[in-house]
Symmetry: C2
Subunit: 195 residues, 2 copies
DNA sequence: CTGTTTCGTTGATATTTATCAACGGATAAA
DNA sequence: TTTATCCGTTGATAAATATCAACGAAACAG
């Protein structure tokens, strides 16, 4: 059932993971089902868990003064969800995270994460790799946001995350890219003509 | 001379730093002067060092197909410079980093960073704190980029980084915010009227 | 099956932002 | 000093994108 996570660790680390260690991990992390629309984290909450998505889809977003949602992050299988700021500072989160599909998540607390990292080299390596990958990816996203027009941002996104296009509707993708659904619709029509 | 870095470590960590450990750090990291306009990293280079700015100012930017520069990151005293992607993947960087003022930088290689982190708990804590702070800050920047209009982005920036406004000219700030210098000039005029 | 919501599209229009061109002041270099 | 470069501003105009409104199709809930 959680084989997916085991493979994930193996993929992100060089040290092998013993049967014993894997048992410790499964004994520590709890599997929880979030039904469609259920909150993983709600604005004002403190983020006590990070979650590894075993299957399903979630989104992280902020809500502005006019009630409009802005998608900060999308996550599918093998992605993590949680709010780093709230998690590390223990402050109320300004974001919401909810399930877009029914989603199975492996939960871990900060304390347990520290424990497992100390006890299991492969786990520690994985954590470091996650952070590395995340910072690289988000750096690119900032670069795209400040230097590319809407159509190129979409082209980039479609190229790098074709799976997201299959799982999330266009108005969600649009919000993620910082444009309206109407603009995205027009951008897509254009890009079809040219191919 | 590098007292600034010592204070920085102390501030970001809870473990004290012994005289012995500090000596090890200064013996490992090299102080280098970059004169105004000198490259710290040039597009196509592999980023072999991260640098802690002891004094001065640097900028990181990409250059698009039309030759326009897009400021990815600005850095003053107590900030780090380097390209995470190139550094971790050992791939040629797509960014440039150069000195905006004459700048003194403490250099460290990846190997040395690992060594010092293993040997010195305070150093390790500092590295973790940097990564935490960085991910939180850049997350907010993405949020701003996709959910705020130009004037609010500027107001936010001015509020959070008043020191940057003093040290970098407006066209650099504008690029950092993803707008043109003309637009920034108009935004500022508006914001003056209202206060 | 039937009403309801979600989703994507399109058109008309408004707003925001970029582009282009020009200017004056400040600063640095010769 | 003179000359050149950098910097910020402004106006006129163009382009990109948002907003508002309406529609039909599909998916879903009762």
């Amino acid at each position: 059932m959680c084989e997916r996570f085991r493979n994930y660790i193996t993929r992100l680390s060089t040290t092998p993971l013993s049967e014993e260690q894997w048992k410790q991990i499964t004994a520590t992390m709890r599997l929880k089902l979030f039904r469609k629309k259920q909150y993983f984290l709600q604005e004002g909450d403190i983020c006590k868990y990070f979650g590894f998505i075993v299957n399903g889809a979630m989104r992280q977003y902020s809500v502005d003064d006019k009630g409009a949602e802005h998608i900060i992050r999308l996550a599918l299988e093998d992605w993590w969800v949680g709010d780093r700021e709230s998690w590390t500072m223990l402050t109320p989160s300004i974001y919401n995270i909810d399930a877009w599909e029914n989603t199975e998540v492996l939960l871990i607390t900060k304390a347990d994460l520290v424990l497992l990292s100390r006890a299991i080299p492969a786990f520690d390596e994985m954590v470091r790799a996650i952070v590395e990958n995340y910072t690289i990816a988000i750096q690119k996203r900032v670069n795209a946001a400040i230097s590319m027009p809407a159509d190129r941002r979409y082209a980039d996104f479609a190229c790098n995350h074709p799976d997201f296009l299959q799982r999330f509707p266009q108005h969600i993708i649009a919000s993620y890219l910082g444009i309206t659904k109407e603009t995205l619709s027009r951008v897509r029509k254009q890009s079809l003509k040219q191919s």
